[in-house]
């Protein structure tokens, strides 16, 4: 396969394309109503799923006006586009899942709270840009939530670092092998005589 030259895009340029594109497809390609609906990563998956379920399984979950006749395929486009970009630039690598239950639950909560808000973190910027006061309040609350989440992440990371330091100082292996009351030498200081192994077993 002929290799295309690598494409470099800054976040600002990509963001500008997204904002302008969302306005453009609403203004000239009938992606309305509801207004400011060009991109949404929680509503468009919902529209796609509801359209498929209503047409294939006969449910009556319902859809917004724009997605009644034909499905909204933004998600499919994003997945295909990201796959092409990752494959083209050699950034597709299979990596094992870490903390699967945690990520399953956060994904579950994100879609439910996102649909309560009625928009994803991208669309809320576009709705706020459309001038909706409710959108601006929702956006402010999203930022507060994100800052609270960041503080929680920092607290968790600090706790993990403290535990890691404790493991290095007192030694996982030695704590299992020795009773708790036994004195433990610090591995950071070399044994001056050099005739006894250090507690971590590396000396």
């Amino acid at each position: 396969m002929h290799k295309l030259p690598p494409i470099k895009v800054s976040a600002f340029q990509a963001g500008l394309v997204m904002g302008l594109g969302a306005a453009l497809i609403q203004a000239y390609f009938q992606i309305i109503p509801p207004p400011a609906y060009g991109i949404c990563m929680v509503c468009h998956p919902k529209d796609l799923l509801n359209w498929l379920a209503d047409h294939l399984l006969g449910t009556s979950w319902g859809n917004v006006t724009v997605s009644v006749q034909a499905p909204v395929l933004t998600v499919v486009g994003i997945v295909v586009g990201a796959l092409v970009a990752a494959k083209q630039h050699g950034e597709f690598h299979l990596e094992a899942a870490r903390e699967p239950l945690y990520h399953f639950i956060t994904g579950f909560c994100v879609i439910n709270f996102g649909l309560v808000l009625g928009s994803c973190p991208i669309r809320i910027i576009i709705v706020a840009g459309y001038g909706s006061l409710i959108g601006i309040v929702g956006y402010a609350c999203l930022i507060v939530g994100a800052v609270a989440g960041s503080a929680w992440l920092r607290a968790r990371a600090r706790k993990q670092i403290r535990e890691r330091i404790a493991t290095v100082q007192y030694g996982e292996v030695t704590s299992r092998e020795r009773p708790k009351s036994a004195p433990v030498e610090s591995p950071t200081f070399a044994n001056p005589k050099g005739d006894e192994p250090s507690p971590s077993g590396k000396g």
Binding site: A70, I78, P100, V110, P121, G131, S150
Partner: protein
């Protein structure tokens, strides 16, 4: 047939650009708050500028931008419950999206880069979508009725 074709093409473009630029709409706040890194935040500023500029421009050029700027003029919306949903949904979405490592858009792109962590995330996301349609919608309807 305009809607599926336009959204598919636009989705492809933003998926491609998002993968190249590592754009995320939650990491911007997180990185700025934790390490004062503004690379991703600039992408979000770009989106806001593009959206406001685009809507204003296309409104002037006669495009389909009804009621811009919208302010409180939201047709067919129960305002009391809308405020409540904006506050609760905004706080919850911001918090859980930060814990999950990024916005749904970025996490789907990372799933496409082969990270199985985000395959599990996507599984929770789409199962949560079915749960919303079956359970959460009923609950929200009850709240809307109570506040009417």
């Amino acid at each position: 047939m305009t809607v599926p074709i336009v959204t598919l093409i636009f989705g492809f473009v933003i998926g491609y650009l998002g993968q190249r630029a590592r754009l995320c709409y939650i990491a911007g706040y997180r990185d700025f708050f934790l390490v004062r890194d503004t690379y991703v935040l600039k992408g979000m500023i770009g989106t806001a500028l593009g959206a406001v500029g685009g809507f204003a421009l296309f409104h002037l050029l006669g495009g389909n931008v009804p009621g811009f700027p919208m302010l409180l003029d939201t047709p067919g919306m129960n305002l009391q419950s809308a405020w409540l949903f904006a506050i609760v949904g905004g706080l919850g979405l911001g918090f859980f999206a930060t814990l999950s490592g990024g916005c749904p858009y970025r996490n789907h792109i990372m799933a496409c880069e082969g990270k199985k962590t985000f395959w599990v995330y996507a599984l929770g996301f789409w199962i949560g979508l079915v749960f919303f349609n079956v359970v959460t919608t009923r609950f929200l309807e009850m709240i809307v009725q109570a506040l009417r």
